[in-house]
Symmetry: C2
Subunit: 197 residues, 2 copies
C-alpha cells in the first residue's frame, strides 16, 4: 500500500511537475487543494485549462496573447523594437511602464553548446518585420550573459547595415548595491565600460 491514497498521490505527482517543486512542497500544495471549497478547486482547475486554451503567441512579436496579434503590437510605437529572449522578459520591462515601443520575443538565444543556432530562434521573423520598413531602433535586451551577448551581437551585425540603430541595455553595478559585494565579473566590466560624467 502506498502512503498516499490515489487521488492525493496523483495530485502530488502533478504538482511535482512544476519547476522547483519537490515531493514535500507538492504535498503541501495538495493538502491546500483538499482544504479548499469545491468551488475554489474548480476555479483553480478552470484557470489551468483556460490559460492553456486561451493563451497563444502573437503572430507578430511572439509574446503571449489571447488574439492573433497582441495589444502591444496593435497599439504601440513600431519605430522601436525591443528584442528579448522570453515572454517573461516582456513582463519585467512592461512593469517599468516606461517603454512605449514594441517587442520581439526570440523564444531562446543562440547557444551552440546546446545546439541552438540562429535559425532555431525567431531572428528570421525579426528581419521580416524590419523589412516591412519604419523601424528606427532595435534594442537588444537579451540577458547579459555569454549567450545573450552573442545573440545581441549577431542581430546587431544583421540590422546595422540596414541603417537601423542597434542598442544594448547598459551593464554595470546594480543601483543601490555596494562595490564590496559586487561580483568580480560585473565589477571589472563596470570598470572597463566606465563612462565620462
Amino acid at each position: 500500500m502506498d502512503v498516499y491514497i490515489e487521488p492525493i498521490g496523483r495530485l502530488i505527482n502533478e504538482f511535482s511537475k512544476l519547476p522547483g517543486v519537490g515531493k514535500k512542497t507538492a504535498q503541501r500544495y495538495a493538502y491546500k487543494v483538499i482544504s479548499m471549497t469545491g468551488e475554489e478547486a474548480q476555479a483553480f482547475a478552470d484557470a489551468i485549462v483556460g490559460a492553456k486554451k486561451k493563451v497563444r503567441y502573437c503572430s507578430v512579436c511572439g509574446n503571449f496573447t489571447e488574439h492573433d496579434v497582441c495589444d502591444i503590437c496593435k497599439e504601440r510605437d513600431r519605430r522601436t523594437i525591443c528584442v528579448v529572449k522570453e515572454p517573461k522578459d516582456v513582463i519585467a520591462l512592461e512593469k517599468l511602464r516606461e517603454y512605449k515601443g514594441v517587442y520581439h520575443v526570440l523564444h531562446g538565444v543562440i547557444n551552440p553548446m546546446e545546439g541552438v543556432g540562429p535559425n532555431d530562434i525567431r531572428i528570421r521573423e525579426l528581419l521580416a518585420r524590419i523589412a516591412e520598413g519604419g523601424v528606427e531602433e532595435v534594442i537588444l535586451a537579451t540577458n547579459p550573459d555569454v549567450e545573450g551577448d552573442a545573440t545581441a551581437l549577431y542581430i546587431a551585425k544583421l540590422v546595422k547595415p540596414l541603417g537601423i540603430k542597434a542598442t544594448r541595455l547598459s551593464r554595470g553595478i546594480p543601483i543601490g548595491s555596494e562595490l564590496e559585494y559586487t561580483d568580480d565579473v560585473t565589477l571589472s566590466r563596470a570598470f572597463v565600460e566606465r563612462k565620462e560624467i
Copy 2:
C-alpha cells in the same frame, strides 16, 4: 493595461493561493502550464478537481480516505492507536513502514491562545473508539512543542484511568546531529530525560 493578459493573470492569482507561493513563483508555475500540452494541462486540472471530490475524512480515524472508512482502519491492528495532529503526520509515520496499528487524527491541538479547546479537536471521537474496547495503548504523537505536549498530557490523563497505556514519542538530540549544533531547549531536555544504558 495590466502587464499580464487575463488568462495568465488569473492563473497566477490561483497559484498565489498555494502556501508560500509569491507572485514570482506563481508566474513561473503559470508559464510552465502554458508550455504543457493540452492533455497535460487537462490532467493537472482533473487531478485538482478529482482530489477535492474524492478525498474525504475517515469516519473512524479522521485521516484522508476515498471511502467511508480508510484502509488502515479496516486492515490493521486496533489494539494500538497512534494519535496525531494532522493527516500529514500519518504520512510521515507510514513512510517508516514500521507501525502496524491504527491512527487517530485530532485535526488540531489544544491551543488556548488561539481559542482551541479540547472540544474543538477530535478527542471525543477518540474516547468513543476506546469505549468500544480492545485498545491497549495510545501513542501520543503530537508535535514536541507546547501545544502538542499539553494535548498529549490532556489525553493521557483521560485514558490512563481506563487502564490503557499512554506513551509519547521520545524527544532528544536528533540522530546524526552534533551536540554543538543542537538548540538549547532540545539539549537541556535530552539531558534531563537521559536514559540508563
